[in-house]
């Protein structure tokens, strides 16, 4: 492979890839507004922005998945257009996604050259396959990985290396890494740092997408900040500090989308005392009746892991949990339901609903599973339930897959209301829901709290979290980084969540 011709350690002032004035909209919603981005050989260029700022769309434009509505893509001073991902690959651009494109049960070498196996006299040249792979691994300084090892036996960090080597073997000169540390354990992050720096020193242009300020400042030489689809700033890392970057990322006015907060919370409904498991540790907090407590944090910080632990999918292994003052062990979802804990999962279509079943069957799913008694009695107050959550459907027999995202979410909430939980955990409750339905869902959640339910709300949308919560708990790398009062500003939350310390 021709990666060797890269002159080591030389910084090229010329951009390998330039995106100029990229515009993209989906269904009339503008997602990218004239974004410029240039990537130079031998630089680590950080791309930051809140969820929905347009980072992933920009990545997809770069990868040839989406075609921009207008704007130019220039590769080595030549304007190109990508009709499909393979065109971008041919131009030397590779995206390292969070999910790897590796075959678990094939060897490292077989994965690296998948689809491009060297052939000699009618059969795959296995020696060339292994030596080439080993050469690329050595070139990267990753000689701990054997080309003949089955990928399933490698750690996540090493799989990431294989993924990168796979891209390099196809002559990639530009690597876009999407949240590369999201899947890594803490001690593996340092290894990734080393790898990224070696790639940089070998003349690869790296686009590093991350939320984490520490990584961005440790690694990058330039930072581009996107907000609401537009470029806010692009500046050398040395000219910026974390506060500035966070400020650039956030700071939009809160709309009057959110209902009034609770007057005064009641008794403690759920209390965690030093609770922890493999993914989160030493959690101590209460949620009171009538409260909406927000749980903030970056992807992988453990916010959803808390929800899953409380609900018994991956139970806590240390510490205690008290429900209404009674120490309780929740060992599985079924116990959780029995004890009065409801969980609106993040993945509505995958985990929340039986898409091909009716509104009625979905709404009654939990009650049928958890309670004994005649079917007639169970279905008696279906109409009342559906009215309470405000589902708009053709009727109780409509299949839920035909409902809008907002109505689907209301069905999920209805499913839990059918058993009147004491504690309700909602994970990304308004993902993929339009603004009108969002408002209705916020109202509904607040009403439930006012009725005495304790609500724990996980969300990656800061405005929503701040607008809804009576208190905000911020997670960072599996532990509580701090607690903020109602109406805290986004910078304070992001500061804690990125491990940058409390700004407020």
């Amino acid at each position: 492979m021709s990666v060797t011709h890269v002159t080591q350690g030389v910084e090229h002032p010329v951009a390998v890839v330039r995106l100029e004035g990229i515009e993209k909209s989906f269904f009339g919603v503008q997602v990218l507004r004239g974004v410029n981005l240039s990537l130079r050989a031998g630089e680590v260029h950080a791309l930051v922005g809140e969820n929905g700022a347009g980072k992933s769309t920009l990545l997809k434009v770069l990868a040839g998945v989406h075609r921009p509505d207008s704007g130019r893509i220039v590769v080595r001073d030549e304007e190109v257009s990508f009709a499909a991902p393979r065109d971008a690959q041919a131009a030397g651009i590779a995206i390292i996604h969070q999910e790897f494109t590796l075959l678990e049960h094939r060897t490292v070498a077989e994965n690296v050259f998948l689809g491009r196996e060297p052939v000699r006299r009618g059969q795959v040249d296995r020696r060339a396959l292994e030596t080439e792979t080993r050469r690329l691994l050595d070139w990267l300084g990753e000689d701990g990985i054997e080309p003949g090892t089955e990928v399933a036996r490698l750690s996540v960090a090493r799989k990431q290396v294989v993924e990168i080597v796979k891209a390099l073997s196809a002559d990639a000169r530009v690597l876009a890494m999407d949240e590369p540390t999201a899947a890594l354990a803490d001690n593996e992050v340092e290894l990734l740092y080393g790898l990224v720096r070696r790639l940089r020193d070998r003349g690869i242009a790296i686009l590093y997408v991350s939320h984490r300020m520490r990584e961005v400042f440790d690694l990058s030489s330039r930072i581009t900040v996107l907000k609401d689809g537009a470029l806010v700033t692009c500046a050398p890392t040395a000219d910026l500090d974390a506060d500035q970057v966070v400020r650039h990322m956030v700071g939009r006015p809160l709309e009057a989308l959110y209902p009034e907060r609770a007057s005064r919370p009641g008794a403690v409904r759920i209390a965690l005392r030093g609770a922890g498991n493999e993914r989160v540790r030493n959690l101590t907090f209460d949620v009171r009746a009538g409260e909406v407590v927000g749980l903030a944090g970056l992807q992988g910080s453990g916010r959803s892991a808390i929800a899953r632990a409380i609900w018994g999918v991956e139970p806590f292994t240390t510490g205690t949990v008290e429900l209404d003052g009674v120490p309780t062990r929740v060992t599985g979802p079924r116990t959780a339901v029995r004890k009065g804990i409801g969980y609106v999962t993040e993945d509505r279509k995958g985990e929340g609903l039986a898409l091909r079943q009716s509104v009625r069957d979905n709404t009654l799913l939990v009650r049928r599973a958890a309670c004994r008694g005649a079917v007639a009695r169970q279905t008696a107050d279906l109409t009342r339930l559906l009215g309470e959550v405000g589902v708009i459907a053709r009727g109780p027999h409509q299949e839920v897959r035909y409902l809008s995202g907002g109505n689907q979410q209301k069905v999920v909430l209805g499913k839990w209301l059918a058993v009147r939980p004491r504690v309700l955990i909602v994970d990304e409750p308004t993902r993929g829901v339009d603004v009108g339905a969002k408002q209705a869902l916020y109202r509904l959640l607040r009403d439930l709290a006012d009725d005495g339910m304790a609500i724990l709300m996980v969300s990656s949308e800061l405005p929503e979290l701040i607008g809804m919560s009576d208190r905000i708990l911020v997670m960072h790398e599996g532990a509580l980084a701090g607690e903020l009062p109602a109406g805290a500003d986004e910078e304070a939350v992001m500061g804690l969540a990125t491990g940058h310390g409390a700004v407020a």
Binding site: T101, L103, R106, Q123, V124, D143, G144, E150
Partner: protein, 336 residues
């Protein structure tokens, strides 16, 4: 220096790791086969017989030949993440095409074989295209093709038809010592299929498509073509089985494949041989082990004179036990 020693250490670790993973499904299958042969010999011996005498070996290998041919093809499609339920009727159809084309004339042997294999290839092509172009689920697609074939056979045949010249019948009965020539040919084809899967690009791509279609596609593998190739090869292997059966029976028989249940039997042999039904892992070596286990079981039951009811129960138990064992070792491997 320390980097070098680190490297040596790592290589060492890798070696140790491969050494501990020597207990592969293939090894398990052949160990099971060995255990079965010993246990069978003892059981048959207690009743005063000998399992592995001349006739016993002949019996095991003859039974294994047809199933082996079909299961080799089935391995290719299952590794690719697909499935072929049409093989049983295809065997019958190909036996008829071969024997009717030959019509007792020695000069027509080669055209007869070619015609049968050609028909098989077309059926395989249809299977593959229905799956890749019409995006039908492999189970349903090949079941549909099986029904079409059955309909054709039922409408046009009531019993055996055509006739195979004596010269060709030798293929069914010639042997070297206790080893039938046909069994040797089957093993030769198994070796070829092994080489194809393990050494050629298309073979590599079959594992890739079976492992994860999306990953394969994103890596530039022509997934549709790979699936179609697997189905054509599988059908041709079933065609060979049909031709061989025509030679053995002296004529073509419409339900020779279906009556023996070669569709599910071949899938059972593949799965018994350690190939994942979901695709992406496994291979021909295990499949041949699976075939030999099934044919040895049959031979043992015959020697013991057991009822067929009992025979089926034992086969079922063996199959479930094997699959449960593999599932267990796989989850254990994942958590390690």
């Amino acid at each position: 220096m320390s980097a070098v020693s680190e490297r040596v250490r790592r290589r060492g670790e890798a070696l140790v790791r491969t050494r501990t993973s020597v207990i592969t499904p293939v090894l398990v299958v052949y160990l099971a086969l060995a255990v079965l042969l010993v246990a069978g010999s003892v059981l048959v011996g207690v009743q005063g017989g000998v399992l592995l005498d001349h006739g016993g070996i002949l019996n095991i290998l003859t039974r294994g030949t047809v199933l082996g041919l079909v299961a080799i093809g089935q391995t290719l499609v299952i590794v690719t993440g697909s499935l072929d339920l049409s093989v049983a009727y295809l065997i019958g159809l190909c036996s008829l095409v071969a024997s009717e084309t030959m019509a007792g004339s020695p000069g027509m042997i080669v055209p007869g074989v070619l015609a049968a294999l050609g028909v098989a290839a077309v059926v395989g092509l249809v299977n593959g295209l229905v799956i890749t172009v019409l995006k039908a689920n492999a189970f349903i697609a090949t079941l549909g093709v099986a029904l079409v074939l059955r309909g054709y056979l039922e409408h046009n045949y009531t019993g055996p038809a055509g006739s195979v010249p004596r010269a060709f019948q030798h293929i069914g009965y010639d042997r070297i010592g206790p080893v039938p020539v046909a069994a040797l040919l089957m093993l030769l084809l198994a070796a070829a299929a092994w080489w194809y899967l393990r050494r050629t690009r298309t073979g590599y791509h079959m594992y890739a498509v079976g492992g994860d279609v999306e990953v394969a596609r994103l890596s530039g593998v022509r997934t549709g073509r790979t699936i179609v190739t697997a189905h054509v090869l599988c059908a041709v292997m079933a065609g060979l089985a049909g031709v061989f059966l025509a030679g053995r029976l002296g004529s073509g028989a419409p339900y020779v494949g279906a009556d023996a249940g070669y569709d599910l039997e071949s899938i059972a042999a593949v799965v018994l041989g350690g190939t994942a039904l979901a695709g992406g892992r496994g291979g021909v070596a295990g499949t041949i082990g699976g075939v030999l286990i099934l044919s040895t079981l049959d031979t043992i039951f015959d020697d013991l004179g057991l009822e067929s009811f009992f025979k089926d129960v034992v086969r079922g138990v063996v199959l479930i036990a094997a699959v449960a064992l593999y599932a267990r070792s796989r989850t254990a491997g994942r958590s390690a």
